[in-house]
């Protein structure tokens, strides 16, 4: 097994863990965490491909990861504040309770 | 000869490394670098506790510790033995694992940041390319451990304290980072070693410390205020305000775990002070070129002690702020001022050297400072009052 495929397998595993979490849990915060985890698995892929890829000097993988981290941070901030707003409205952060779009 | 004394620790390590088989070299080298730091800073912690208690005692017309050892200087030993032998009380409803991990995390995080602090010429554990970033990244782990402590104790006071502490630390971390950006801009590097090396040059007898520029001075002041808040020291000691929420997030800790928190907190204070020295006060560099014969590490620790004394002095003088005032100060004054400071540093960089750029940059910062402080006080009506007397 080459080093690259090790990283790829690990990243696939992390992605699946995040996916399983997002699918099996009903707590909004946990689902958000699962999504963050999937995003991070993708980041690991970027870095691994950059490191073992043919042209590391291009820095594309690193750049993509930096942007992805900032997007993830923004996503977390907005996502959590949406959860807060929903909680204030329905007094629950269980996704099953958020079945109405009416205010 | 001064050269040898200056480099004695480095030479000693080289000499010792000569006897190590090449297979073990990386491990032994790391141990030889890390262990002195692990010894030096807890020792400084011990000295500082005595110094603080004696200093505060002087300010308050009392003696401070003077029973254990000469002038009470063995007091930390007695304190250490006491806290080691004390019963470790864990609240029945506490989350045991998290309760145990919190002090460990804070101490580990506090120790990790010393990896990038150059305590002398060629004396740094790891010359990281992104050293300053490492410092702030690891420093942010402290917030997590504070939360762990506050939440796992299952006490209202500790939770209130932890929430206060986290809100305060996050708010003041932003000015802290922004204040150091001016130095990174000027040095063109995130490596602490490079930053110090750049400051360790002299024009005539005067050094090139960043604090001797308008933006550097502003940055230094912002950094120190934010550092006071980051390390929960007076007047920003709300998270542990003993008259309000007793001891804040570590109210339910006793014995050795409490001592660990204490240690972690002081190590954090030393680390931020050391970072301020590294960024603004020339690190281990001597203040005048004719004083370079004094070893570099002596200068570093002298500057560190000076900053610690300033902390103690402030603690002995000022009352504590309130939460909303603290937040207002961080977001309405510190943050905009540090942003303007970055702008001023940019102006400095692109203007030709001379009196004109001194004037322009000083003016920019002074105007910003005045306007922001007026804005901060706009909705507040406090003033020194005069009193009337009944006839």
């Amino acid at each position: 097994m080459s080093p690259l495929s090790g990283y790829l397998l690990l990243s696939a595993l992390l992605f699946s863990i995040g996916l399983a979490g997002a699918l099996t849990r009903r707590n909004a915060i946990l689902v958000l965490i699962g999504i963050e985890l999937m995003l991070n698995a993708a980041n690991l892929n970027f870095i691994a491909f950059w490191r073992y890829g043919p042209n590391p000097a291009a820095l594309t993988g690193v750049m993509f990861t930096i942007f992805s981290i900032s997007v993830a941070a923004a996503e977390a901030a907005v996502g959590l504040s949406i959860i807060l707003a929903v909680y204030r409205h329905s007094k629950s952060i269980n996704l099953d309770a958020m079945n109405s779009m009416k205010g | 000869m001064p050269e040898i004394i200056d480099q004695i620790f480095v030479l000693l390590k080289h000499w010792l490394m000569g006897y190590v088989p090449s297979l073990l070299k990386p491990v032994v080298s790391a141990i030889l670098s890390v262990v002195p730091v692990l010894l030096a800073f807890p020792l400084l912690f011990a000295i500082t506790t005595v110094l603080e208690r004696k200093g505060l005692g002087r300010m308050q017309n009392r003696y401070g510790p003077n029973r254990v050892g000469p002038f009470g200087f063995l007091q930390p030993m007695a304190d250490g033995i006491k806290s080691l032998t004390k019963e470790d009380i864990i609240p029945r409803t506490a989350d045991h694992l998290v309760h145990l991990l919190a002090p460990v995390v804070i101490v580990i995080a506090s120790f990790l940041v010393y990896a990038v602090l150059p305590i002398g010429r060629n004396m740094v554990i790891a010359n990281l390319n992104a050293g300053v970033l490492f410092f702030f990244a690891v420093g942010s782990m402290v917030e997590l451990s504070v939360f762990m402590a506050g939440w796992s104790s299952r006490s209202k006071y500790s939770l209130l304290g932890a929430m206060r502490a986290i809100a305060q630390m996050i708010s003041y971390e932003i000015p802290l980072v922004l204040a150091s950006i001016v130095v990174i801009m000027a040095a063109g590097s995130l490596s602490t070693v490079t930053i110090v090396n750049l400051q360790a040059t002299y024009t005539g007898i005067f050094p090139h410390w960043y604090v001797f520029t308008p933006w550097g001075l502003t940055g230094f002041i912002i950094f120190m205020i934010a550092a006071t808040a980051e390390s929960n020291r007076c007047p920003f000691d709300l998270p542990e305000g003993e008259s309000e929420i007793i001891a804040g997030y570590y109210i339910e800790y006793s014995g050795f775990k409490f001592a660990l928190f204490f240690l972690g907190e002081y190590l954090g204070m030393f680390a931020t002070s050391a970072m301020a020295i590294t960024l603004f006060l020339g690190g281990w560099a001597a203040p005048f070129s004719f004083l370079t014969w004094i070893p570099s590490y002596v200068w570093f620790f002298a500057k560190l002690l000076a900053l610690i004394c300033a902390f103690i002095w402030i603690r002995g003088t000022l009352p504590r702020l309130r939460m909303d005032q603290l937040m207002n100060f961080a977001w309405k004054f510190m943050l905009p001022l540090s942003l303007i400071n970055i702008f001023a540093a940019g102006v400095w960089h692109y203007m030709p050297a001379g009196a004109s750029r001194w004037l322009v940059v000083t003016l920019v910062i002074a105007v910003a400072c005045v306007l922001l402080s007026r804005g901060l006080r706009r909705n507040q009506w406090f003033h020194v009052r005069t009193y009337r007397f009944a006839s």
């Binding site: 985890l37 990861t65 977390a76 | 942010s140």
Partner: protein, 166 residues
Amino acid sequence: MTISFFIIAAITIVGTAAAMSLKNLVHCVLSLTLGLVGLALLFLLLGAQFVGFTQILVYVGAVAILAVFAIMMTRSAEPMTNLPPASFRLSGVLIAATVFAVLAWAISSATRSLPSQSSQPEVSVNQIGVALMHQFVLPLEVIGVLLTAALVGAAILAMDETGASR
């Protein structure tokens, strides 16, 4: 495949798996932090120093704290009692396992065509800075706008409506 890779990978997997399976939300966030620190260590192992530290700064210093605040504010720190039914959970795990199986098959079958160059690329913060300011200046600006929008949006969303009218 060094030994450090396996140790760090184990930490990461344990942390993230615990984050997705523990009952207490605060424990979930704390173990997620462990997993993300492991991920940051992997980045360091791959030679991406800047990204690794940024990862710690953003995830441990900001996202984890934010999640913790959200948990405290929504009063969900108690262990969850009403878990979804077992069939629901099982189907979720099955889907994830299938996805992993497919990905793993794809990776293992593509191993031969994967590049295996292993010279450590030297990348300094300087280079990243220069690249950000020249090659990637447009994405950087967009990210700046995005972050500002997210900051304002999050603040407005989280603002107490009743508090504003009070």
